[in-house]
């Protein structure tokens, strides 16, 4: 019985993670503005904060990053490495700090989003061709993306809080 419960939980998580990557691909294609969102990143921070379980968060971050890399045609492992670190840091922060505070969430989401973009770009520079790897508007794009991710993450966390309050 216990094994079935564990399998069910694992299946739910796997479905959610695959769903996030697929939805990101579809929405980016259908609506240009979703190109600025990074749903897998928000998902990493969300699970990191709410589960406060670093090992589970590492697995989630790695899986999401690898799926993103595989579907994007970019460097395999770049998003995986970045999302793994972010999920781990989010889970560690969830254990040590009061991540229920709005200001903490804003800072965390914004910095994680910016850090993810910078790390992935650095890895692309290290592995890919050295000439012209980014365009001049990259910083603006990163800031815009960080803002969108922060806002969307806050909405998601808000729903999580309401659901938690309703069930407790």
């Amino acid at each position: 019985m216990n094994r079935i419960t564990t399998l069910g939980l694992f299946g739910r998580f796997a479905t959610a993670l695959i769903g996030v990557v697929v939805i990101q691909g579809i929405l980016s294609f259908k609506f240009k503005v979703f190109g600025y969102f990074d749903l897998p990143l928000i998902c990493c921070v969300y699970y990191g904060f709410t589960l406060s379980n670093p090992i589970a968060s590492i697995v989630i971050g790695s899986s999401l990053g690898l799926m993103q890399d595989s579907l994007s045609g970019g460097i395999l492992g770049a998003n995986g490495l970045s999302k793994t670190l972010i999920a781990f840091l989010a889970a560690s922060a969830g254990q040590k700090f009061a991540v229920d505070q709005l200001i903490t969430r804003v800072f965390a989401l914004f910095l994680f989003s910016l850090g993810d973009d910078i790390l992935v770009t650095i890895l692309a520079l290290v592995v890919g061709p050295t000439s012209n790897p980014t365009y001049s508007g990259a910083m603006g794009s990163w800031l815009l993306s960080a803002t969108f991710n922060t806002l969307f993450g806050l909405v998601l966390f808000g729903y999580h809080d309401r659901w938690r309050d309703a069930t407790t």
């Binding site: 579809i26 259908k30 492992g77 290290v126 980014t134």
Partner: protein, 287 residues
Amino acid sequence: MSRIVVASKKPVWIALTVALVIHIALISLQGHRRIDTGFIRVWVLDSLAPLEKLADRLLFGARQAWDRYIVLVGVHEENLRLKRENDELRMQVIQEQEAIAEAERIRALAGFKPSGIGKPLIARVIARDPARSQTITIDKGRVHGLRPDIAVITPAGVVGRVIQSSNFFSIVQLIIDSQSAVGVMLQSTRRQGILKGTGGPDLDLDYIDDDNDLKEGDMFLTSGGDRIYPKGMPVGVITSVGARRGLLKVVRVRPSADLGRLEEVMCVIERQEKVDVVDPTQVQAVP
């Protein structure tokens, strides 16, 4: 107490180290090209792309239902306008057919080989990349004849090239991707050059024989020199010519194809070279 805390932290660091080592190894292997990691992409693409296709079909169906049955206001006026446009276009087609027939006659006289882009295969775009590099996923793969380095175009212009194919799906790198380069020639002067993607919405001119006569509005066509894209396809239009940086002026080019709104694309699975070289055995004396 502190010993218990330290002991409980150990598996976390082990898990983190293992995960990081795996990712760094993957990145390193690609950098040195020691092992082909393409099988991981193919496996994930074959697993996830059907879900993307399903979601795309559902959204497409919902939009069709909305467009065909719900939003019918103004259809009559639109119908009349389209009929007028159709009449005008028919006239244009007749004129174009005359021009083509004339060009064919001249070509035959000069002994030119026929031009064309090759065998096209229509594919539907089902998703954009989830990691903000400039790639799209299309619903055709190896079984349809696609393989890496096949050109992907639209009637408006060049879209990109296939970089990864699974059995039924492929990933296409757009020409605006920072890792992309296209061999081009200026339509007006036929000067050859290279356009590189910037990762943003535009392309940068990376090389050209002579940049003195470049001006805004000039059109770049594919040169065919890269052996990927068929010759003569529109690539983009110069939007700005800046000051000289190093050997070249800073030239920005806007892609001719609307890469943000791709629905269907054409994959050139069998290239037909456009060779404008006169075959002496075919040349006949023109009276």
